[in-house]
Subunit: 207 residues, 2 copies
């Protein structure tokens, strides 16, 4: 099977009402208010409570040739980089590839184990994508991991080929919402797969 | 199989960004701006273009013992009932049961063929539900068909047992959005079924 390469993919978990994070994100609660007791991340229960059932989707999430994420997904530090922070994912992050972190606050690249290097991009979404594409050698996929603030900018700019949504059984009512402020999109449903705690839907973005 | 009866069900088609209708609803375009050329209803393409594939979901939509809908779903007449309008569904509507239409403008009941009678309720959502439950003889299901403005009120009031969503492959970007203003809900995914132009997801509302 020949896999089409060089795509720009967004991959994100959302609540049934479209939120990728609740209000009041913090180091203790990176996903903000999730209607729970604050000890867990109910959006991602499908990943952590039922990993066997969702192995394909979890693997796919981390198999791009380069990644893009927003600074709030990268961590809880806001404003100047005034304390050490190298991401939520430990010394050997699951990306094994360059990760371009959008921010307004310049910072030197941070090399981690296993092939992951965090690059901090202050020149905006087009620059981050150009750098990710170059790192992906032109023919590997680039995956934009979130948050919604970042993905919405790429969707609005018409730069996304494929959208992988994992729709979790809860609503958040407030927070950062996927598609908020994004002009109407024509989509093609490519795959849709139910699992016990989630529905996985992949759309191709037509226009 | 014993079917649990007497449930309150919402059944509605939404875009991937949660809208049940676009902006600028009119008699010519009951679903408002849908990003198309105005000739069709792209949200409901799954019903009209692929009926065989979705027979179960279409049948389920119209099998309650009583129905509730908002006045905007019922038709394009706004304000006073100053011209004849008996719904979008012709002389023999597919409901075959009483339909309670929420409105601020009183009107006499309108009997149609095949067992459908439209009752116009001006006393609010609790009254409409009590009347629908009484009509359903206490043990038949009541289905709330939309629009989002109506369903959101029932969700906010904690009056819904089950939510059947048909998620269509497009985004609208604006309009009436399901869950808008509704406090966070815990849901249980009961079923999830892909078809070629839609993903059908049924949630039980836990709280
Ligand atoms: N549900 C999921 O699958 C999922 C996935 C990812 C993240 N999340 C959650 O979502 C939340 C983070 O998402 P978010 O939407 O709040 O934020 P985000 O997209 O992760 O990050 C937004 C921040 O990135 C920087 N940024 C974004 N675009 C930029 C641009 N064009 N130029 C320069 N800097 C730019 C800005 O930071 P500065 O101006 O401060 O530098 C901005 O405040 C976290 O709670 C995270 O846990 C959830
Ligand atoms: N995607 C779908 O499956 C689906 C399903 C249904 C409808 N739709 C579309 O959605 C649109 C209509 O939805 P909508 O959200 O705009 O409106 P809606 O819920 O159908 O109707 C709202 C109207 O109903 C009356 N109403 C609602 N709650 C009331 C209350 N508590 N007390 C008294 N009156 C009340 C008010 O009318 P007055 O004050 O004017 O009397 C209100 O403006 C239409 O475009 C329709 O085609 C789509």
């Amino acid at each position: 099977m020949t896999e089409r390469t060089g795509r720009v993919i967004c991959d994100i978990t959302i609540s049934a009402d479209g939120y990728a994070a609740g209000l009041h994100q913090s180091e203790e609660r990176p996903f903000g208010d999730d209607g729970g007791d604050g000890s867990g991340d109910r959006l991602h229960a499908w990943m952590f409570d039922t990993p066997d059932e969702n192995r394909a989707e979890v693997e796919q999430l981390n198999t791009a040739a380069a990644f893009i994420m927003g600074r709030n997904m990268f961590g809880p530090v806001r404003g100047a980089w005034d304390r050490p922070w190298n991401g939520w994912w430990g010394d050997d992050p699951p990306f094994h590839a360059p990760v371009f972190v959008l921010t307004h606050h310049a910072r030197e690249p941070q090399q981690m184990n296993g092939g992951t290097t965090y690059h901090f991009v202050t020149e905006g979404i087009a620059s981050a994508l150009a750098q990710a594409r170059a790192a992906a050698d032109g023919d590997g996929d680039v995956t934009i991991l979130g948050g919604a603030t970042t993905i919405n900018q790429y969707l609005s700019a018409g730069l996304v080929d494929e959208l992988r949504l994992h729709i979790a059984p809860l609503t958040l009512g407030a927070g950062t919402r996927l598609f908020e402020g994004v002009p109407p999109l024509r989509l093609e449903q490519v795959t849709s797969r139910p699992a016990s705690l989630v529905t996985h839907v992949t759309y191709r973005v037509l226009s």
